[in-house]
């Protein structure tokens, strides 16, 4: 699937779809492992919404690519360098130095990431409702309703953890310190952003509103806003961390072992 033969619109649909499927897959790791049963259910439902959004976007992309492309071929049979998601979304639910065991998973990291991402996507979907691409606008209108609930959920928990115990405060602050530099990728120029502008949203122009939401929430949560400096990730350009390969291996192994399987 060479990028050269796709029009900009398909690349952008894949960026949106990959974001949703990768975060949906990550968050689904909490299913059966949630800190409390209500959150176990909440995270499974949020994952379901994200995977549903990804399906709508992959179906539209597959229809435009034509040939043998299907939602499944796009989700299960592309390699990690073909994925166009933000690096932020593929990171494990842990700080920078922790391992992969389920017991190492940190809910503060999950909440902080969901907050940073849904705060952006509420603005992106709002703008894309007016996309000249009518089919994308229809998906945006649905996704916006769901993303508002995701933002509300993660925002409430960020405040609860930040303004909670000394331990919860310290852990969610550490999670923010770890994740904030990855948000630099939201604002960098490139082919994805040119395609976004064509599709109806100039993501850079959303920065002031996003900053205001982050500042407002962190103030209520009694958290410090860490600076977003250092290496700028390029997941949206196909340059990923080592974590995406492991995530895709788990997500794609069944489909690759049994291509075309039905149940």
């Amino acid at each position: 699937m060479s990028a050269a033969v796709q029009d900009a619109s398909v690349d952008y649909l894949l960026h949106l779809a990959d974001n949703a499927v990768v975060l949906g897959q990550r968050n689904s790791e909490w299913c059966g492992h949630g800190p409390i049963i209500e959150e176990d259910i909440a995270m499974a439902n949020i994952s379901l919404d994200l995977i549903g959004q990804a399906r709508l976007l992959y179906q539209l992309a597959a229809q435009r690519i034509g040939g043998d492309a299907t939602e499944d071929s796009l989700a299960y049979f592309r390699g990690d360098t073909e994925f166009r998601n933000y690096t932020l979304l593929e990171l494990p639910h842990t700080g920078p130095l922790v391992g992969y065991a389920k017991t190492d998973m940190d809910y503060g990291t999950t909440i902080a990431r969901n907050f940073l991402y849904s705060a952006l996507m509420v603005l992106v979907w709002e703008a894309l409702q007016q996309s000249p691409d009518a089919e994308l606008a229809a998906i945006a209108a649905k996704s916006l309703k769901e993303t508002r609930y995701h933002l509300r959920h993660s925002r409430d928990w960020l405040v609860r953890l930040g303004d909670g115990t000394d331990d919860s405060h310290a852990r969610v602050q550490a999670a923010l310190d770890h994740l904030m530099p990855y948000t630099q990728e939201f604002w960098t120029d490139g082919a994805t952003e040119a395609a976004a502008v064509e599709a109806g949203v100039d993501v850079k122009t959303l920065r002031a509103q996003w900053d205001a939401m982050v500042d407002d929430t962190l103030a209520e949560a009694t958290l410090q806003r860490p600076s977003a400096v250092g290496y700028v990730t390029q997941g949206k350009n196909g340059l990923h961390s080592e974590h995406l390969g492991y995530l895709l291996t788990e997500m794609q192994s069944l489909a690759r072992a049994h291509p075309g399987a039905q149940w």
Partner: protein, 188 residues
């Protein structure tokens, strides 16, 4: 579904066929909430004649709603039973909203133990500023949420225990008067 015709209808659906299909589809209930029909939920949007047969238009509730596959199968089964050639078309726009739920459907939800959605999602600007617009932050989450009356005892003395419940479209609440937990169908 008790109106299976004995003769196979003609290939091009006429007005009688359309009304027959409407009547049969009217008996299909939501797989997750069996007291409400697909039509009352606003999922079943249209039954129309197309060049190559009949089209039943449905719209998904939440993007990832796992009941959609079942709903499509149920609709196809009705068409098969009526021996009407047709297909199911999924339409995203306008996006499904709980505003389409009829008052009768809301009463049925309440009687079933699910609190129906409060307020409207679209329409007048004032109602758009309440719970559905999370961008309008109010200090303390409870301040932004309208009271949800308990479907069991009617008390408005209730509290949200989780934003997400047994399905993506519901939140978990509990009544502080009758002490019963209940599902709340969120405005969408």
């Amino acid at each position: 579904m008790n109106a299976a015709p004995t003769a196979a209808p003609a290939a091009a659906p006429d007005a009688d066929t359309l009304s027959l299909v409407w009547a049969a589809l009217d008996s299909l209930s939501d797989p997750e909430i069996p007291v409400i029909t697909l039509r009352e939920m606003g999922i079943l949007r249209d039954v129309r004649a197309a060049a190559d047969g009949l089209e039943v238009v449905i719209t998904p509730t939440y993007s990832g709603c796992p009941a959609m596959g079942q709903i499509e199968d149920d609709v196809r089964e009705v068409l098969r039973r009526l021996r009407v050639p047709g297909r199911v078309v999924t339409q995203l726009a306008p996006a499904w909203t709980t505003d389409w739920m009829t008052d009768a459907a809301k009463d049925k939800l309440r009687a079933y133990g699910i609190a129906p959605p409060q307020g409207r999602c679209a329409g007048d600007a004032a109602s758009q500023q309440d719970a559905t617009n999370v961008l309008r932050f109010v200090r303390g989450a409870a301040a932004a949420t309208p009271a949800v009356p308990c479907p069991h005892c009617g008390s408005s003395h209730t509290v949200e225990s989780s934003h997400f419940g047994s399905t993506a479209c519901k939140a978990l609440y509990k009544c502080l008067d009758c002490q019963e937990p209940f599902d709340y169908f969120k405005p969408y």
